[in-house]
């Protein structure tokens, strides 16, 4: 029990603490540790990208290569999945990808707070994507947008049921989008902390879980990238559905 206390609860790392208490119109808008890390993420992205591109040389150095690679990576993703119509939405998807990627990776630093391990943060991003994509689809296609819910060549008898089912499956999109990122980050960080507790509790024998943690860190690094990628590519797919109206 005392040892467990020394190592701390594995869920303690997700605790939100108010750093600067603020209240606007009865709403608690305190500046929390989560907000601090969001600022850190944005500053880190801006600084690293601006610093890498400060020279903008024709033959890129290491930093510039990384910056250009990440740009090309997202640009290719948008072009492959949405086509040329998606070019206008590239800045949004790039920002989304970089934000999630940096939040995931910076969260892996010991004592850091992982912004994306909170469902409300991932849900806020997912619902923004969902509403944005729906509004774009409605503006582009007006009422024809609703043909997205009616597969072609369906008998009129079962059409109403299918429309409802398709509507539900459409409404489930923000949930899966946010749940996937949140669950992956939360599970990974809890696991790291649990095994960290083992290292402390086992003393000398802790070398076993310690080696495991090193391997797990590698896996978590991959997950951090993969989840940012999945979030961005699903955003592209949803955007493609809204722009081109096909399943």
């Amino acid at each position: 029990m005392t040892v467990a206390h020394a190592a701390g609860s594995p869920l303690e790392q997700f605790k939100i603490t108010r750093l600067v208490e603020m209240e606007v119109g009865g709403l608690d808008v305190s500046f929390t540790n989560s907000a601090v890390w969001m600022v850190v993420v944005i500053v880190a992205i801006s600084v690293s990208l601006l610093f890498a591109m400060r020279k903008g040389s024709m033959v890129p150095g290491r930093g510039q290569s990384v910056a250009e690679l990440s740009y090309e990576f997202v640009a290719n993703m948008v072009r492959d999945n949405v086509g040329s119509a998606g070019r206008a939405y590239f800045p949004f998807i790039f920002s989304l990808f970089m934000f999630i990627l940096f939040a995931n990776i910076l969260g892996l630093i010991p004592y850091a707070f992982t912004v994306t391990s909170h469902i409300i943060v991932t849900f806020a991003m997912a619902i923004t994507v969902f509403l944005g994509v729906t509004v774009i689809g409605l503006i582009k296609h007006r009422m024809r947008f609703f043909t997205l819910f009616l597969p072609k060549g369906i008998p009129m008898v079962i059409a109403p049921f299918l429309v409802i089912i398709e509507l539900f499956s459409y409404l489930a999109r923000p949930i899966t989008l946010s749940l996937r990122l949140f669950a992956n980050m939360m599970a990974g960080h809890t696991l790291l902390k649990v095994f960290g507790g083992f290292v402390v509790a086992l003393g000398f024998l802790g070398i076993g879980p310690f080696v495991f943690i090193i391997a797990l860190y590698g896996l978590e690094l991959m997950v951090a990238f993969l989840q940012a990628y999945v979030f961005a590519i699903l955003t592209c797919l949803y955007l493609n559905d809204a722009l081109h109206l096909h399943h």
């Binding site: 070019r87 509507l167 539900f168 499956s169 749940l179 797919l237």
Partner: protein, 113 residues
């Protein structure tokens, strides 16, 4: 980059570059491998399960709020739950079909048509 599309030489360059890349690029050893193995399989299973759960939750929540609004508890919730389950199975089917077609679809969950 794309602003230079009107320059024929650059357009041609891109085409030639793509052709050379395709010809000379060795098969990527990592391609698709992330989706395989035990952890990859687990991730896929989790993804399919999550699809089902999410649609079910949507059905439950929507039914609940409709019931609150129309005062028809518990009937609309039950109906919506049923539709939510169906939508969940449909989503899970779509995801797993995509995964079966292309095991690397876990890395590239795009369905171009």
């Amino acid at each position: 980059m794309t602003e230079d599309d009107n320059l024929p030489s650059l357009k041609d360059f891109e085409k030639r570059l793509e052709a050379t890349r395709k010809r000379t690029a060795p098969p990527d050893p990592h391609e698709g491998s992330a989706g395989r193995g035990i952890s990859g399989g687990l991730a896929q299973a989790m993804r399919v399960g999550m699809e089902m759960l999410a649609a079910l939750l949507v059905g439950l929540a929507l039914g609940w709020f409709l019931d609150e609004w129309l005062g028809t508890r518990p009937w609309l919730m039950l109906v919506c739950l049923l539709f939510g389950m169906t939508a969940g199975i449909l989503n899970a089917y779509r995801v797993s079909r995509r995964l079966m077609q292309d095991p690397a679809a876990f890395d590239h969950p795009d369905e171009k048509n």
